[in-house]
Amino acid sequence: MSKKTATAESVRGPLDGQPETENRPASVEEATETGAMAAAELADSEEFTYAIADRTVALVLDESIYKKDAVFGTAYLFIEKCYVYLTAPSEGQIGVRLRTRGDADEAALEEMAGEFINELLNQMIRHSVGESTMRIREYYMARAFFATDTQTTIDDLLAELDDEELEEAPLEIAVPWEDNDA
């Protein structure tokens, strides 16, 4: 099995060093910005090492960098494309073995390794943005499910329009528009 390195993306996770709640952004825009910053941090990185052999790519991920949830999300997508087997070689590490369903040359295996890492980054940013926007989503869900009487509904708006029309009539008697025009 030969070892390869690629300029990628393997050092710090986007949430490293961030407090759990204090720095959560207050808006979706800010959360998106956080995701972009996370991507920039990840791109400013060390080399990524993987090994390739007959139909197989093997790599070891540091769990303190790559969240298990992101690895699962990536693995789930790759199950459609190839055979995926995860191991726990040591505490805090996740081993990933990808095996193609058919024959593959070295270039194809390298491409598969790159795709896996790209998707892993994508999943990590999704995870990061998901955490950043959690409070906003919870707020909107709470508003949707536990709306108070002050919430404006379509019926309220229609009733308001009716009231306005009545106010315009001197006697506030509803008159069909056909009669009004006559």
Partner: protein, 79 residues
């Protein structure tokens, strides 16, 4: 020749590994040993038609089922 797969419980749900053994049981001989922290599955007597793919397919099945189960457990959506 028998082949063994080790499924760490930090990554695979023990119940889903067991369900994978049940699902693939008619295609080969499976032996499942569960210890603290991992399930070890030994596969032998694989039917010739499936010799090339059975072990990998089994691992895929166990992983997919484990991921789905994990996501359900935390109440999140799959992706």
């Amino acid at each position: 020749m028998p082949e063994s797969l080790v499924f760490s419980h930090s990554l695979y749900a023990a119940a889903e590994v067991k369900s994978a053994v049940d699902a693939f049981g008619h295609l080969a001989q499976f032996s499942l040993e569960e210890s603290e922290g991992e399930s070890v599955v030994t596969i032998s007597e694989i039917q010739d038609d499936y010799a090339e793919i059975l072990v990998d397919s089994f691992a895929n099945y166990a992983l997919e089922a484990s991921i789905v189960a994990t996501r359900k457990e935390v109440g999140g959506e799959l992706l």
